[in-house]
C-alpha cells in the first residue's frame, strides 16, 4: 500500500525542496531590489551581474530579479530602473490583478494559521520545563505563589547545577556502572518496580493505567523503607547510557503518582545543594496536597514528577495521563455527538412533515414580488454548477484516458459502446446545466433590476446551509508521517492547480487588444542587448536539448522588432508559461527526483522560473 504512493510525491516535491526562506518578494520596481536567498547555482551570480550591466533590459531584468531573488545567494544588486514601463489597459487586467491579490491574501492567511499551529507543536516537542511554562497566563499564578516558591532565576541556577552534577556523574559512571547494575538487579526492593514498568513499555496502549494499580502496595512500602538511600541511587541511574536511561528514568515517574501526597520525587541534587532547593519540595507537596483534597481538578492527574524535572515528550510522552475532568467531559462530548449522528431526526419523523407544512403555509402568505429562486439560492446553484462542470470534465478526461490508452482495435464492442453512451450522457447533462444557468440568469437579472447594485457593506458571501450531509464526522487514520505528508502535498497541489486554472480562466479575454494598445516601445540599442542574448544562447551542458529553441527565441525577443508588442507577448508568455511552471507543476515521472531541472516551458526561455544552472 505504502509503496504505491510513496514515489509519487517525490518528483512533485523536488523543486520545492528549497524553502523560500524569509524572502518577501522584491518590490515591483526594478531599482534597488535587495536580493537574498539560498542558491544552488554557482554560475548564477556571475552570469547575472554581467547581464545586469546591459542597460535597459527591462522585462527580462525584472523577471530575473524576481527569480534570482529566490535563487542567488549573498547578492545585493542595484539595478538601473528599466526605461520602459509596459502598461496594460485597466479593463483587461483589473480582474486578473484582483484575483491575484485575493489568492495572495488567502495564501497569507493560510500561512499564518499554519505558522501558529507549527509553533504550538514545536513548543510541545521541546523539553517540558518545570516552573514556568510559557503559558499565556502564568503571571497571576506566579504572583500568588511567589512568596513561597523559588524564583525562576533560582530554579534556572538549580537546573544548571543539576546538569553539571549529572555530567560529573556520567564521567564517574564508567567506573561505577557494573557495580550499580548489580545493585539494581539484586536489590529486593527494586524488583517489583522493574516488573511493573515492563508492562507499559511492551504494551503501552492497554496496560499503562492497569499496570499501575496492582503495583501500588509494594511500591508504597518500598518507598517508605528506602527513602534514605534514594539520593544516592537516583543519580547513579540517571548516569546510564542513553538507551538505559530511558527505561530507568521511568522509575521515579511510576513511583511518584503512587506515592500520593507523601512527597514528590526530589531532584537528584537536592541533598548536595543545601541552600537553594528547600522551598521546592515544600511548594510541590503543597500543590499535591491541594490536589488530593479536592477531587478531580484538572492539573492533578499529571504525575507530579513531570512538573519537577524537565523532560521531553519523546522520553516520557507515553506516561502522560489526561486529567480526569477532561476525560469525563470529552467522553460525554463524544457520546453526545455520536447520539446526534446516529439519530435520524428528520428522516422518519412527523417533525419533518410539520416543518414542511409550516414552510408551505408561510410560502402561501409571501406577497413580495420576485422570482421563486432567492439570491442566496442563485449563488448556491451557481457554485453547484461550477462544481458540476469540474466533475464532468474530470469524468470526461477519465473516459477519454481509458479509451485512449487501449488501442482502438483492442476495445471490445461493449467498451466502445459504453464510452459512447457515457459521452452522450455527459453531453445531455451539460445541456441541462446550461439551461439551468439560463434560468438562474433570468432570476438574477430580476433581482438586480429591483435595486441599484452596490456592494454590500457586510461583505459578499451569502450562505445557505443546513442542507446536504451535515453529520459526517469521522476519523481519518494514517499510518506514517510520509503518508500524511503525501496527502498534505497532494491537497495543496490540487488547490494550487485549481487556483492556476481559475487564474487562467479569468485572464483578460482578448490578448490582441492588449498587444495593440500598448504604447510603442522605447528605443533600444540592440548592441547593448547582446550580452543578454549571448548569455541566453551560451552552451548549456545540462539542457542541450532546449538550447536550439532558446536561441531563436532570444533573437525574436530582442531583435529590435516592435519591442512593445513583444513585451506584451512576453506577458502572455509569462502568464501562460511562467505561472504554470510554478513549483511542482512538472511533477510527472519525466524528471528524476533530485535533479533540479527546470520544466520545459521555462527552459525554453520564456521566463527563468527556476534556478537555471548555467544560463
Amino acid at each position: 500500500m505504502l509503496a504505491s504512493f510513496s514515489p509519487a510525491p517525490a518528483p512533485a516535491l523536488h523543486i520545492w525542496e528549497k524553502p523560500a526562506s524569509t524572502h518577501n518578494a522584491a518590490g515591483p520596481g526594478g531599482a534597488g531590489a535587495r536580493i537574498r536567498g539560498r542558491g544552488s547555482t554557482p554560475a548564477g551570480p556571475r552570469q547575472f551581474s554581467r547581464r545586469a550591466g546591459a542597460a535597459g533590459v527591462c522585462v527580462l531584468v525584472c523577471q530575473l530579479q524576481l527569480q534570482l531573488a529566490a535563487t542567488s545567494p549573498q547578492l545585493s544588486l542595484h539595478l538601473p530602473p528599466p526605461p520602459m514601463a509596459a502598461m496594460l489597459p485597466a479593463d483587461c487586467s483589473r480582474r486578473l490583478v484582483a484575483e491575484l491579490l485575493g489568492a495572495l491574501e488567502a495564501c497569507q492567511k493560510k500561512e499564518k494559521d499554519l505558522q501558529q499551529s507549527l509553533a504550538r507543536c514545536r513548543v510541545l516537542l521541546q523539553p517540558w520545563e518545570v516552573a514556568s511554562p510559557p503559558s499565556p497566563e502564568p503571571a497571576q499564578r506566579r504572583d500568588k505563589e511567589a512568596a513561597c516558591e523559588p524564583t525562576p532565576k533560582d530554579l534556572k541556577e538549580l537546573e544548571l547545577l543539576t546538569q553539571t552534577l549529572e555530567k560529573a556523574l556520567r564521567v564517574r559512571k564508567g567506573i561505577v556502572r557494573v557495580q550499580s547494575e548489580e545493585s539494581v538487579s539484586s536489590g529486593k526492593a527494586v524488583q517489583p518496580l522493574v516488573a511493573a514498568q515492563a508492562g507499559p513499555g511492551a504494551r503501552p496502549r492497554t496496560s499503562n493505567p492497569k499496570a499501575c494499580v496492582p503495583a501500588r502496595p509494594p511500591a508504597t512500602s518500598q518507598r517508605a523503607s528506602s527513602g534514605v538511600k534514594r539520593p544516592i541511587r537516583a543519580p547513579s541511574h540517571r548516569g546510564r547510557a542513553p538507551k538505559d536511561a530511558l527505561t530507568h528514568a521511568k522509575q521515579p515517574d511510576h513511583l511518584a503518582p503512587l506515592e500520593g501526597p507523601a512527597q514528590p520525587c526530589p531532584l537528584p541534587s537536592q541533598g548536595q545543594v543545601p541552600g537553594v532547593p528547600t522551598s521546592t519540595p515544600v511548594s510541590a507537596s503543597r500543590e499535591v496536597g491541594a490536589v488530593a483534597s479536592k477531587p478531580g481538578p484538572e492539573q492533578g492527574k499529571t504525575p507530579p514528577d513531570l512538573r519537577s524535572e524537565p523532560f521531553t515528550l519523546k522520553e516520557k510522552g507515553t506516561q502522560l495521563q489526561l486529567p480526569l475532568l477532561y476525560k469525563k467531559i470529552a467522553s460525554r462530548n463524544s457520546s453526545l455527538w455520536a447520539q446526534i449522528q446516529h439519530s435520524q431526526f428528520d428522516a422518519d419523523s412527523d417533525v419533518a412533515a410539520a416543518k414542511a407544512h409550516f414552510l408551505e403555509r408561510m410560502k402561501k402568505t409571501f406577497d413580495m414580488p420576485g422570482p421563486a429562486i432567492s439570491p442566496a439560492e442563485v449563488q448556491e446553484e451557481v457554485n453547484r454548477l461550477d462544481r458540476a462542470c469540474h466533475l464532468l470534465t474530470q469524468h470526461l478526461e477519465e473516459t477519454l484516458a481509458m479509451s485512449g490508452e487501449a488501442a482502438a482495435d483492442s476495445l471490445s464492442l461493449e467498451q466502445e459502446y459504453r464510452c459512447l453512451v457515457t459521452l452522450e450522457g455527459l453531453q445531455a447533462t451539460v445541456d441541462q446545466h446550461l439551461l439551468r444557468l439560463q434560468e438562474l440568469r433570468e432570476a438574477e437579472e430580476h433581482w438586480s433590476g429591483l435595486g441599484p447594485a452596490e456592494s454590500p457593506p457586510w461583505g459578499l458571501g451569502l450562505r445557505v446551509g443546513g442542507r446536504g450531509s451535515l453529520w459526517n464526522s469521522s476519523r481519518l487514520s494514517y499510518s506514517s508521517a510520509r503518508e500524511l505528508q503525501t496527502v498534505a502535498a497532494l491537497s495543496l497541489r490540487v488547490a494550487m492547480l485549481k487556483q492556476q486554472i481559475h487564474l487562467q480562466e479569468v485572464r483578460p479575454p482578448a490578448p490582441s487588444t492588449c498587444v495593440l494598445r500598448l504604447a510603442p516601445a522605447g528605443s533600444y540599442h540592440s548592441d547593448s542587448l547582446c550580452p543578454a542574448v549571448r548569455a541566453r544562447g551560451e552552451p548549456d551542458p545540462v539542457h542541450t536539448a532546449s538550447r536550439s529553441v532558446r536561441r531563436p527565441l532570444a533573437r525574436l525577443r530582442w531583435g529590435g522588432l516592435g519591442t512593445g508588442r513583444l513585451v506584451a507577448l512576453e506577458l502572455w508568455w509569462s502568464l501562460r508559461v511562467c505561472l504554470w511552471c510554478a513549483p511542482g507543476s512538472d511533477g510527472g515521472a519525466s524528471s528524476p527526483a533530485g535533479s533540479r531541472e527546470p520544466c520545459q516551458p521555462c527552459s525554453a526561455g520564456a521566463l527563468p522560473c527556476h534556478p537555471q544552472p548555467a544560463l
Binding site: 503559558s135 495521563q321 459502446y417 459521452l423 451539460v430 433581482w447 452596490e454 443546513g466 476519523r475
Partner: protein, 439 residues
C-alpha cells in the same frame, strides 16, 4: 448518558408543560436564546418581545454570515443597522412577507411577524444544526487537510483591483510572490505533518479511548499548560450543554411546530399594502450585490460551453469510430456481432447510474467544520474504529490532480494557439511555440 436518546417519542409529545420546555431547550441550544415567555408574548403581538426578538435574529444571522467573510465586517451597533441587516439577509434568502419588511426600524412593534420570521429561519436554514457545527470545539488534529481545499475559491471584491492601467511588471511581481507563498505553504505543511506525527507517536497509549490511542495537540497542551487549557475545558463543557439542549429540542420539536400552526391561524396572510413598497425595496436591495454572482455566472457559462463544444467533437468522433467498428466487424464475420438489446440496456443503466451519482456529488457540500480527527495507526494495526483511511483520500486526490493537470494543459495549449495566431498577424515576427511536455 443516552437518557434523552432512549426516551420514547410519545412521552415527550403533548403535555401542559411541553411547549415551554421545548422552547427552553431551543434557547439553550442557540446562542442568546430568549425565554419561553418572549415567545408567548410574541404570539399575541405584544411590543415587549420586539427588542429581544430583533436582537436574537440579528445575532444568529450575523454569526452565520460571519463564517465566509472576505474582508472584516464592522458590526452595526445601532438597532437600526441591525434591523436592516436582518431584513437584507432574509430578503436574500427569499423570505417574502411584505409585513415583515414594513416593520419600523425603531423596533416598536411587530413581535408576531418577528416570531414568524424566526420560525421560518429555524426550519429553512436548520439554524440549531448550523450552530452546532459553527461552534464545535476542536479536540483533535486534522482540520488543516480539508481547509486547504478552500484556497482556490474565494470571492474577490473587484475593489481590490487597480483603478487605472497596470504595469506588466506588477503582475509579474504578483505572480512571483504567489509562487513564493505556495512554496512557504508547502514547507510549513510538510513540517507540520512531521511534528504531528511525532506528537502522536510519542504519546501512544495515553488516550483513554482505545480506538484513538494517542493524544492530539490540544490534548497535549492541556497537560503542558494546565492553566491555559481551562478555556478549552470550559468550551467543551458549554458545547456539551448545547448538545444536550439540542437533543432535547430535537425530541420535543413537534410541539413547537404544532404551536406555530396555531400562531399562523391567528395571523392572516399579508394584507395588500402597496403604498410603502417603493420606499423599502430599494433600501434593502441596495445591499445585495449581484456583480460577483454575475461574474461567476459568466465564468461558469464559459466553462460549460467550452465543455459542450468539446463533448460535441468527441462524441462525433466516438460515434464515427463506433459505426466503423461495427461495419468492420460485420464485414469480417458472417454474422454481425450486434450488441443485444438487453446488453445495451444494461450498459445504459450502468452509465446512467454513474452520472446520477456524479450529479449528486456536486450537490453535496463539504461542511467547513473539520470534525474529522486525525488518528495515527501503524501499518499493520487493525482498523476497528471505522476510521476512514488516508490512502483512500490520496487516491481520490490523485485522480483529481491528474484531471486538473489535463485541464490545465488543455487551457495552456488553447492559449498557445491563440498566441500563435496573434503572432502570425505581426509582421516580421517569427513565432516559435514552446515545446510542452506531453505525456
Amino acid at each position: 448518558m443516552g437518557r434523552l436518546g432512549r426516551r420514547p417519542r410519545g412521552e415527550t409529545g403533548t403535555g401542559p408543560g411541553a411547549l415551554p420546555k421545548a422552547i427552553a431547550a431551543l434557547s439553550r441550544a442557540l446562542p442568546g436564546g430568549p425565554s419561553p415567555e418572549t415567545f408567548r408574548r410574541a404570539k399575541f403581538d405584544l411590543p415587549e418581545a420586539v427588542a429581544e426578538l430583533w436582537s436574537l435574529l440579528f445575532s444568529l444571522l450575523w454569526l452565520i454570515h460571519q463564517e465566509d467573510k472576505v474582508s472584516p465586517r464592522d458590526l452595526p451597533d445601532a438597532l437600526e443597522g441591525q434591523i436592516r441587516f436582518v431584513k437584507w439577509v432574509l430578503r436574500c434568502h427569499g423570505y417574502g412577507r411584505q409585513h415583515f419588511y414594513q416593520l419600523p426600524e425603531v423596533g416598536s412593534h411587530g413581535s408576531c411577524e418577528l416570531l414568524l420570521a424566526f420560525s421560518w429561519l429555524l426550519a429553512y436554514l436548520s439554524l440549531p444544526e448550523q450552530f452546532l457545527f459553527l461552534r464545535c470545539v476542536h479536540q483533535g488534529d486534522g482540520v488543516w487537510i480539508s481547509s486547504c481545499k478552500d484556497l482556490a475559491r474565494c470571492p474577490v471584491p473587484l475593489a481590490l483591483g487597480p483603478k487605472g492601467r497596470v504595469d506588466i511588471r506588477y503582475i509579474q511581481w504578483l505572480l512571483g510572490k504567489l509562487r513564493f507563498h505556495w512554496r512557504n505553504l508547502y514547507e510549513s505543511q510538510q513540517e507540520q505533518c512531521t511534528l504531528l506525527n511525532k506528537i502522536h507517536l510519542y504519546t501512544r497509549g495515553c488516550h483513554p479511548d482505545q480506538s484513538i490511542g494517542h493524544l492530539s495537540v490540544p490534548e497535549t497542551e492541556i497537560l503542558r499548560f494546565p492553566e491555559s487549557s481551562k478555556q478549552l475545558l470550559q468550551e467543551l463543557e458549554s458545547e456539551n450543554s448545547c448538545l444536550e439542549a439540542f437533543l432535547e429540542w430535537k425530541h420535543m420539536e413537534l410541539v413547537y411546530w404544532q404551536w406555530m400552526d396555531t400562531v399562523l391561524d391567528t395571523r392572516p396572510g399579508g394584507m395588500p399594502n402597496t403604498s410603502k413598497q417603493d420606499v423599502f425595496l430599494p433600501e434593502i436591495l441596495q445591499n445585495y450585490s449581484p456583480k460577483y454572482v454575475t461574474r461567476e455566472m459568466d465564468r461558469v457559462q464559459k466553462n460549460l460551453e467550452a465543455l459542450r463544444e468539446r463533448l460535441q467533437e468527441v462524441v462525433n468522433q466516438q460515434r464515427a469510430a463506433w459505426h466503423m467498428k461495427v461495419s468492420k466487424c460485420s464485414q469480417r464475420l458472417p454474422r454481425p456481432p450486434e450488441l443485444s438489446t438487453a446488453k445495451r440496456k444494461e450498459i445504459q443503466e450502468a452509465v446512467g447510474y454513474e452520472l446520477t451519482t456524479l450529479d449528486q456529488d456536486c450537490g453535496v457540500k463539504r461542511h467547513p467544520c473539520g470534525l474529522q480527527r486525525l488518528v495515527f495507526r501503524k501499518a499493520r494495526e487493525p482498523n476497528n474504529s471505522g476510521a476512514q483511511s488516508v490512502t483512500k483520500i490520496i487516491q481520490l486526490l490523485k485522480r483529481e490532480e491528474a484531471s486538473l493537470e489535463r485541464t490545465l494543459r488543455r487551457l495552456q495549449e488553447e492559449c498557445q494557439q491563440e498566441l500563435a495566431i496573434l503572432a502570425h498577424g505581426l509582421e516580421g515576427v517569427i513565432w516559435i511555440p514552446p515545446p510542452y511536455p506531453r505525456r
